[in-house]
């Protein structure tokens, strides 16, 4: 059992920073050593759970990619390279009260909230059940329409306040989505109403083939926050601890009624935009090689080894467990009966109008939908 460290100081809000001196906040160096004087607020148990989730995410990416290539899964986006951003922030939430409002690259955050892995595979096999959350799982479904989830998160946060909850909402989006009007309008609204929401912007360097320099002329997305009247924080998105501490601070602010926070987690998309993309056409291989050196999993592993919290043999065993877990979820999803034509008409209207009712009846009778 590890000792609980005292809460670390608040991360540097970029409100006060000079743009020229903007450096991401880092607590865990690429070689696995901690910043001087820093003691993680994650317990050793939590840290091992976080590492497990990072590895699970990478395993899902690899397995799902191969299934997609075999025609057994639809187009999806991998998380590869962004595990620290997603897992570090998700671990700042209390799944029993807080909410995750994802875009489409945050599967591990959804899993931590209780979304069953089997549903992920069902979703990308075309089953509506894949987008249904079990009772008590506080996650909105994947949002494929870019940036549309950000205003939803603000509304959800208002709703929770109105219901007397002290819950926080963590919403994820990327550097690309930040250019949509929805992002601006949602952040402005949240600032005005002091909504208990954390805007977790994963700057992974790319929006499909558009590099971040073509997305914004600013040196950091975090700098936008002061313009909305709340703090922005720039963290090293490949540093599990820095992301976690910043998110923890932001969640506490939200709970205390202090309003929203924007966190820019500066990370890197190591894989393609999605399975329909071929990044070798536009990503410089030298850059990619250099970024692979900064793999967030490697960094946590180095720390765990140095602390003797997880040996190589134990990790091997863990990996094989995770592979079994993923294969079981795939098998369960593939054993699910094929979608029925009647499903087309479900969940459209609570009380279907006559025309839709007639179409449903025809489909049920096995006739062509008319």
């Amino acid at each position: 059992m590890s000792r609980r460290a005292p809460a670390p100081p608040a991360p540097p809000a970029q409100a006060l920073a000079e743009p020229a001196s903007l450096e991401p906040w880092t607590l865990l160096a690429p070689d696995g050593t901690l910043a001087e004087g820093y003691r993680p607020s994650l317990s050793d148990e939590e840290l091992l759970a976080a590492f497990r989730l990072m590895l699970l995410s990478r395993t899902v990416d690899q397995r799902a990619f191969s299934l997609q290539r075999q025609g057994r899964l639809g187009t999806f986006s991998t998380v590869e390279g962004q595990e620290a951003s997603v897992v570090g922030s998700a671990f700042a939430l209390d799944p029993a009260r807080d909410w995750v409002v994802p875009q489409y690259r945050e599967l591990p955050a959804m899993l931590r909230q209780g979304y069953p892995l089997t549903r992920f595979f069902l979703y990308f096999r075309g089953h509506p059940i894949g987008n249904q959350m079990p009772e008590g799982v506080r996650v909105l479904p994947f949002q494929i329409s870019l940036a549309a989830q950000i205003p939803h998160a603000v509304g959800l946060a208002w709703g929770l306040r109105q219901q007397g909850s002290d819950a926080a909402v963590m919403t994820y989006f990327g550097d690309g989505a930040s250019s949509e009007g929805d992002a601006h309008e949602a952040m402005n609204l949240a600032g005005v109403r002091r909504a208990p929401v954390v805007f977790l912007l994963q700057n992974n360097g790319w929006a499909i083939s558009t590099p971040v320099a073509k997305q914004t002329a600013a040196q950091s997305f975090a700098l936008r926050a002061p313009g909305y009247g709340f703090p922005g924080v720039l963290v090293d998105g490949n540093d599990l601890f820095a992301v976690h501490e910043a998110a923890r601070w932001a969640v506490e602010r939200a709970r205390a009624g202090e309003g929203p926070t924007l966190i820019e987690a500066r990370t890197y998309r190591l894989g393609p935009h999605n399975t329909a993309d071929d990044p070798t056409r536009y990503v410089d291989p030298d850059e990619l090689r250099a970024r692979r050196e900064l793999d967030p999993i490697v960094r946590v592993r180095a720390y765990l080894r140095a602390r003797r919290l997880l040996s190589e043999a134990e990790e091997e065993q863990l990996r094989s467990q995770l592979m079994d877990e993923v294969n079981a979820a795939v098998a369960e999803a593939e054993a699910h009966p094929a979608a029925d034509r009647r499903h087309i008409f479900e969940h459209v209207y609570a009380d279907p109008p006559p025309r839709v009712r007639a179409q449903r009846e025809r489909a049920t009778a096995g006739e062509e939908v008319r």
Binding site: G74, T75, R125, G126, H127, P128, I144, S145, L146, A147, G176, A177, S179, E180, G181, A207, I208, S209, T210, K214, Q215, T216, R281, Y282, A338, A339, R341, H343, I344, F345, V348, R355, V356, Q359, A363, E368, V369, R370
Partner: protein
């Protein structure tokens, strides 16, 4: 040449012909366009003429309106029609109205080109054909080519037009091949429909990918039953060429209107209203309509196919129009 290549050729010819023409949108440069229509244009014309934009549809459609007001000829690519909803205010309240609201002093020669349609398992939010939302608006022109030749001819006409034109491409037709006139001055006029197949028994009115489906069904009806369906390819939704449609219905006395989107308040609703008015004395049967099931499009392949106006449904609707099966 494919439909996609025909569009690219139209862009290349117009970029070369008129230096006021420029292309902008998400991923149109380095990435060659989400559906590769703009492939190679960045290398040929450079970053001032082929501009990658941030993901800000309202912003760059609005900027297109501004540039067009100055007399530039922007060709804005929207990754799919679905994303044009985000820029609806700029399209409906600005592009379509500026000419009238400024008393004709400024024009808005803006082109927006974008693929619509379903069939690629892109789910409810990314597979839509709400062509009628735009065809509804006075001040906009809306064209929807169904062949490579018209893809080239209509896009070129759109770029040369002094009014804003929405060019609806279609995901399923990008790979269709056909003869394309290579004369750079060959244009397809906006507002003129085409008789895609001659027939005497029934008129099928369609646009965009529904034309491809209608032609396949017409061939099947001829082969298996000796029935000759005439297929009208609308090509333009606004202005709508009712003369060509009415002449066909006067000949066949029966009309089936098909669209890929939801039929309620749809393109086929407009057509049915106009056909019954123009051809009241010619009709031997009620005008039939066919579109997609009135639901958000499902993701699963089998369900997606069942919900769309697929060939089996289209054939049945044609037979119903001919009163050979119950309506």
């Amino acid at each position: 040449m494919t439909y996609r290549e025909a569009l690219r050729l139209a862009l290349r010819e117009e970029l070369a012909r008129d230096e006021r023409v420029f292309v902008m949108g998400e991923e149109v440069g380095v990435f060659d366009g989400a559906y590769k229509v703009t492939a190679g244009l960045l290398d040929e014309f450079g970053p001032d003429r082929v501009r990658d934009t941030p993901i800000s549809e309202e912003g760059f459609v609005g900027a297109g309106v501004g540039a067009a007001m100055l007399g530039e000829r922007p060709v804005v690519e929207i990754m799919t029609l679905n994303f044009l909803l985000v820029a609806m205010d700029q399209v409906v309240n600005h592009a379509a109205k500026i000419g009238a609201m400024f008393g004709g002093q400024v024009r808005c020669p803006l082109v927006i080109r974008t693929p619509n349609g379903a069939g690629n398992q892109l789910t409810a939010q990314h597979s839509q054909s709400f062509d009628q939302y735009f065809a509804h608006v006075p001040g906009l022109k809306v064209v929807a080519p169904a062949t490579p030749a018209d893809a080239k001819g209509l896009l070129k006409s759109a770029i040369r037009d002094d009014d804003p034109v929405l060019v609806l491409e279609n995901l399923r037709i990008y790979t269709e091949k056909g003869e394309v006139p290579l004369d750079p001055e060959h244009l397809t006029p906006i507002g003129r429909a085409r008789v895609a197949r001659q027939g005497r028994d029934l008129t099928i009115v369609a646009h965009s990918y529904a034309v491809v489906r209608a032609l396949a069904v017409a061939e099947k009806l001829a082969r298996e039953r000796g029935l000759e369906a005439e297929v009208i390819d609308l090509r333009s939704l606004r202005p709508l060429d009712m003369e060509t449609v009415a002449a066909s219905v006067a000949k066949t006395n029966r009309a089936l209107c098909v669209e890929e989107g939801w039929p309620t308040y749809g393109v086929t609703a407009e057509l049915a209203a106009r056909v019954q008015h123009a051809c009241f004395d010619d009709l031997d049967a009620p005008v039939e309509r066919l579109g997609m099931a009135e639901v958000p499009l499902p993701y699963a392949k089998s369900l997606e196919t069942a919900a769309l106006p697929n060939e089996a449904r289209l054939e049945r609707a044609a037979l119903a129009t001919l009163e050979l099966v119950p309506a």
